[in-house]
Every structure is written in C-alpha cells, then in structure tokens.
Point group: C2
Chain length 475, copies 2
Amino acid sequence: MEKNQIETSQSGITCIRGAFFDFLDDPWKYIEREHESARYIRDGLLVVEGGIIKDFGSFDKLSPKYPDQPVTHIKNRIILPGFIDGHIHFPQVRVLGAYGKQLLDWLQMWIFPEEIKYANRDYASEAAKRFFDDLLAGGTTTCQAFTTSSPVSTEVFFAEAERRGMRTIAGLTGIDRFAPPDYVITPDDFYSESKRLIETYHRKGRHLYAITPRFAVGCTDAMMEACAKLKKEFPDCWINTHISENPTEVRQAKQEFPDCTDYTAVHEKHGLLGPKFTAGHGVWLSNDEFRRFAKAGAGVCFCPLSNLFLGSGLFRIGRALDPDHRVRLSLGCDMGGGNAFSLIRVLEEAYKVGMCNNTMLDGSVNEREHDAAEAERNKLNPYRAFYLATLGGAQALYLDDVLGNFNVGKEADFVALDWNAGQLALDWHQSLVTTESAPATIDQAAMLLFGIMACGDDRNVDETWINGKRAYKKG
Amino acid sequence: MEKNQIETSQSGITCIRGAFFDFLDDPWKYIEREHESARYIRDGLLVVEGGIIKDFGSFDKLSPKYPDQPVTHIKNRIILPGFIDGHIHFPQVRVLGAYGKQLLDWLQMWIFPEEIKYANRDYASEAAKRFFDDLLAGGTTTCQAFTTSSPVSTEVFFAEAERRGMRTIAGLTGIDRFAPPDYVITPDDFYSESKRLIETYHRKGRHLYAITPRFAVGCTDAMMEACAKLKKEFPDCWINTHISENPTEVRQAKQEFPDCTDYTAVHEKHGLLGPKFTAGHGVWLSNDEFRRFAKAGAGVCFCPLSNLFLGSGLFRIGRALDPDHRVRLSLGCDMGGGNAFSLIRVLEEAYKVGMCNNTMLDGSVNEREHDAAEAERNKLNPYRAFYLATLGGAQALYLDDVLGNFNVGKEADFVALDWNAGQLALDWHQSLVTTESAPATIDQAAMLLFGIMACGDDRNVDETWINGKRAYKKG
C-alpha cells in the first residue's frame, strides 16, 4: 500500500520510500573520490519507530520484512538528513538583513534594541513560532541558538522546540559589558539563572543546554569564570560563543584581555576550549589558533552569509581543514547577521568564499601565498558541502551519536529536496543531469545537489520531517 | 474606473496608478542625503501612449486631465523603472552555476561546449524563450548581452527580443584564439558578419548593436582591429567586452599583448575605449586604469554574483566611484558566471562586496590602506543600489535618453515589487517599516527596498511591464 499521505501503522512504525542520500565519513579524506564518503540509495526504505530509525536500506530488500506496513512514497525528490545549523540567533528573527554596519556598530544600532524585547514573553512567543517556521521552511531540523540575557527567551525557545519535537541546543546568553544597561546581566545572576535552566531543560526530551558567553569582548573575566564554573558542575553541557569575527572586534578583544596572547587564549585561560565548545565565525583566527582548536577538539562554525553581509571577511576553509590539524567545522546561517535562514543559501555563499580563497592561494596574485593543497580544500563540491550541512555539522557539534545520517538508531529528521524548484532557470539547468524521477547514480545525485546549492534556495526544500513526522510541506 | 486588468482606452493610452519610486540623479553626489537624488510619489499616475511615457505625476493632479481613461491600479507594490543588466550571456542560460573552476578553465570545461550548440537555430530558439522569461521574472527589462561566434545566436536573440518588444543591446561575439576550433571565428568573417548584422538590426525597433570582442585574451590584434574598423564605420554602435576579471587572465593578457602596459591599454591601442564602451568585471583594474576609464567616458559593469561564484575577487566599488575620476558603472548578473538572473540578487551580493571592502579600508586590518571616504562609498544603501539597477545603469550604458526613470518621453518599462514576498521571514521583517498598503515617505520606501535587496530575490518581482504592457505576472 502506497500513499502520499503519511501512514503510520497501528504498530507505531512509519515507512518512507524514496531516493536517499547521506554520508558515512568526511569527504575531505577522499580527495577526487569524494563519493566514497557518501551513500546513495535510489529506491530506499527508511523505517521509523518512535522517532528513531529502526531500519534503512534498499526498498527491495527491506520491504518484505514489513509486509503489513503502509509506505509513504516521496517521489521526485532527494531525501537527505535534516540540516544542522551550528550558529543562529533566535532573538534576531525580525531584524535579519539590517543595513549598513559592521559587527560592533550593528550590535548597538540594530541588535540589542531588538533583543531587549525578548524579555517580554508574548513577543518572544510570537517570534519563536516564526523562528521555527522559518527554520523548517529552510530544511533545518536542528540548530544551536543564542537567546538573550533574559531567561524568558530561553524558556520560550525550548517550549516552542518541544512543541515541534525538535532537537536543539541553546542557553541563556551572557554579556556583562558593552551593551545597554537593560541588556547586561551580572555574572552572579547569569550563573544562578543558567544553573536553574540547565536543571530544567538539559537532556529533557530533545533539549540540550549550551553555556553561552556571548563573546569575549562583551564578557568580563568574572563572566568567563561563571561559565567555567558551570561547565565544571555540568560537564555534559555544550559551550556556545563567538570568536574573531571582525578585525576591530579582534583588536578590542586583545585590549580587554591584555594577559592573553590572542582571542583563543581567553577561552583557554578559563578552561572552556575543548569538546562541545563551538565558536562562531573565526574569520580572523591565526594558523596557530586553528591548530589549538583542532588539538582541543573544539569547533568553529562557519557563517558565510553573515561574514559577507556584515563585511567581516572570508573564512579560511582550507586552512581550518588542514588534515594534520583538522578543526571540527559546522555551518551556520547566523541569522540576523546572516540574511537568510536557508542552509542552502549558506552553502551557496560558502562555495563563493571557498572559490575566492582558491584564487588567492593559486599563486596568480602572490606567489608567496601559493598553497595548492589548501586552495583545493577550499572547493566546496556537493559532497563536501552537504556533508557539512548534515553529518559534518553533527560531528562538529558532538551530535553524531544521534543525528547526521540514516544509520539505524539515529533520530529520524530529514528533508526532501526538489531539485527543479527555485528560480525559473533551474529546471532546464538540472535537465542536463537527468529528467528521470530519481538520479540514476550517486554522482548524478551530487550534481543535482550542486545545482540546488549553486542556483537554488529555500524553494528547493519541499518537505521537512521531524522525528519521522512531516513538519513542513511547501505550500 | 479602476480595474486590476490592464485597460487601454481606444485612444491607445494606458494609465497606471500606484506608488512610484525612481531617480533623477546619482546618489553618490548626495552623501547622507541620498533621498535628494530620488523621487517618490506615494499615489502616482503614469500615462503611457505608444510605449512612451506621456505624463507622470501625482494621481490627484494628473487624473483630471484624463477623465475618460481607464486606470490600472497596482496596489501594495512599489513601482520602479525596469532593471537594466549591463552584462549577461545569452548562450549560458542552461549552464549557470557550473561547478568548480575559475574563469579560464570554466570557459573550456563548461562554457564553450554549451555555446557551440547555439549555432543550431532550434536549440538557440528554445534557449531564447527561456532566457527572456527568466529575465522578466527577475524584473530585468533591458540587457546588454553576449551571444556566440555564430550569427545564428545573434539573429535568434534579436528575434525573441522583438517578439517581447524589449530594448536590448547585443552583437556577434568575436573570439579567434584560446577556444575550440568549432568556436573561433576569423577576424575577416567576424567583420563581414558583424557588418551585415549591424545593418540588419541596429536601431531597428528597439534593437541596439554592440561590437563585441569577447575578451582581449581571446582576441588577436587582427580581431581587435576588425572591431576598430567596425566602430569607425558605425560610430553609433556600442562596444561590449570583458576586462580584468581574474588574476590569471590579467597575467595572460599582459603576455599576449607585450606592447601594452596593462589590460586597458589593449583597448586604448585600438581606439575602442570611449563612450558606449562597456567592459564587464574590472575586478583587478588598477587605480590608473580606473582613471583612464573615467576620462574616456567608458563604462565598467560590476557583476558580483559572478565575481564571487567564479572566485574572481572583490570589485572596488568605492575606488571606481572616486568623485574626481568617476567611472560609469552598471550592474550585471553575468549569468552563467553569475548564478542567478535576478538583479535583486545582484544587489544583495554587491552590498556584500561593498561591506567587505568597507572593512578592509577602515584601517582595522592595515592602517596603510585606510581610506574613510572610499570605505564609505562602498556602502550600498538602497538609494545607491536601486540607482545602479535603473538610472545609473542607463547612464553607464548611454541609454538614459530613453530609459532609467519615469521622465516624460522615456520608454515605459517598469517593475512592480512586492516587499513582503521572498523567504518566509521577510514579511515580519518589513512590518517593522510599515504595514500600510504603500510606504508613507521616501525613506520608508527605501527601507522596504533595502529589505528586498538584503533578504529577497526574484520572488519580490510581482509584475514586469514592457512598453506600457504587462509582460510578466508572478504565478
């Protein structure tokens, strides 16, 4: 029995049939044979029970095991694991794409005045509904989010995530200087409120908690120490922050922490740099800082939409992914510094940043910066790109035990992509690859995915599923 | 009498009512008071006769002059002059957003094999329909286009433009080296075919002809001389080419023209640099070359979608717009090097390039590159941005006698923008500016336009009108 409606049998099992594409390993380990890192099942079956993947494989082989189960057949789509966004700001949903300022002025002019509103539960609740609607419309099923310095915003965020059944990471956002008086929070209040929120939310349902010093420029040593204390008491928690986004910010961080040799040293000094630590941006991280991130098992979240929109600069993808000192790398839209929610748009801009880096490293501008291997690592082919948006993001965020691909036992969040949607021109473009109802080979699938990231946007997200249930269908 | 359908009275007059926004001057001349360069009529009337603007002003004042005319009222939209694209490749419509190569390799791998197909009239005709559909869906009403080295593609291009009634500039594209044998054309054949095409098309209907040496690397001195000869015989024709797009290309141009001090000198040597000359890109033009462009009255077309997608680099907007040596600047999507047809997407990427330049010139990275005035000129506020897409483009292309704003006597091409369309998040964002059916002030209108360029795309183009007739309505 096949239907377009979702069918869940009385046994609580859901079966989804379609063309599935996911990753088993890091494609940067497979240069010029990236497809070996991926898995494509042209006619596959995903069996979900209680939100967990119970079985996964080819339809022909698996379907006899489930003879009485109804099957939801998703046709003419490529089904990928849900996108994972490592860096986004819940309280900026209304001011995305604000005009004309670099980071520090942009915060003062547009961001803090808006974020202050999120102490109001009604306003925050309306924003939360829109925020999660926008995420799902972009195919994002998990995010690591900043909230505000008011506990209300964190409470509202987790309440709405719970209503959607989504796995998210978030936490009260600490900042005790360089922000309006109504917005700052003292280290003591931050500590006690964070502790209360951790005890309320962390590991409850799908919630995960991140201890969140906003960024070192906005955090005194006392605030950083409050974070360190929380991490010692709750070592299972994540840590989420920003680093080295903008050159003026980097200079200011050095001024504020004269005892630290660089920006990364601020986090090292307080014992925060390590597993489950993610810093957004890292545009201006030095080679040495990248190596220390790699050694510590800490992650960087690359946010190209934002880095270009705020003029922060070009993230050095190929340097971060030096195989001898490989940094854990996730992708983030960084809405509202980023001007869209869509991870597909993030991939487009990431590709562009990589290509600009590629040119600067090919020796044509400056022979002394010539590095052919690093230049090559900057090229975001579709395997590398969609890996970062799925399994790579999960690995960087230490979520790959539960998310990132279709392995049995993982959580059933996924997205069905329509490779012909988007701008009018895309359809004819994709017909160069295939006009069949599903790509014949993994390379065909990858080429269609590249068409989506190069020329598409949120319109290519046709369905988004959470916990084995359809949570979004394009109107 | 008001209707949603287009009404043209028996007198042949069409009246359109709505909120109109256009430019009368260059906003870079009005720093921090850019609105003085623009004109906003909240409730306006545009009267068109025979495709030409017969009257324009406030509805209250003008409508009594046309008591018996039906009026088409376009509500909840901002109406702008049609977008002008200074640089696009007709025969790349199917291969936009192709993977992984910088300019010279990209041409060999993806572009020439596709462009060769356009010697086939059937293939070219199908492509032409799609090309113009895609343009109109993006709000572009005039473009300056490259075709191929086969006259067929130029003929098909103009035939389809004529069917749509669109004003376009195009011409046979000359290249006699560094391309496949099936693709090159000899200077003699290029000269005679160009001459024939000029006599057939130039100034016939709305067609304008551009003598088109593809780029100097692909053109011998003999080809450049053929172009010079054509320009002498047909001085009213335009000239369209590429310049200084990619650093490896710039090096190769210097090798191929050892007698020229730089890339611009190749065009000077052959007497081509002057009015009606446009070169796409100019990413790597020196300060001295910019000054010579300015002095000659020659134009540069800035193509940020392409410059980022091919990794060519960041165009120096603020340097090109030095008020003492101001280069005529248009915008181009440069599809297929550019990955979208939409001028709105071009504005988004242009804004990002400007912001990245702004940071590099603010002294935070390198005090020796600090230039506050140039940094400021890089900021694409909505006035500057939409000026470039309309009147600025017309001026750069020497089309402002007939296009670019709503002045009486100009041609009635325009676009109606829906500021709430686009990604799901845009609606709530724009509600910070207004929830009325039309912006109350010119600054409100500009803020909504910034929302469109920052967070929108082709979805914000609701209607596109050519010659006073609706040619596109969003489905």
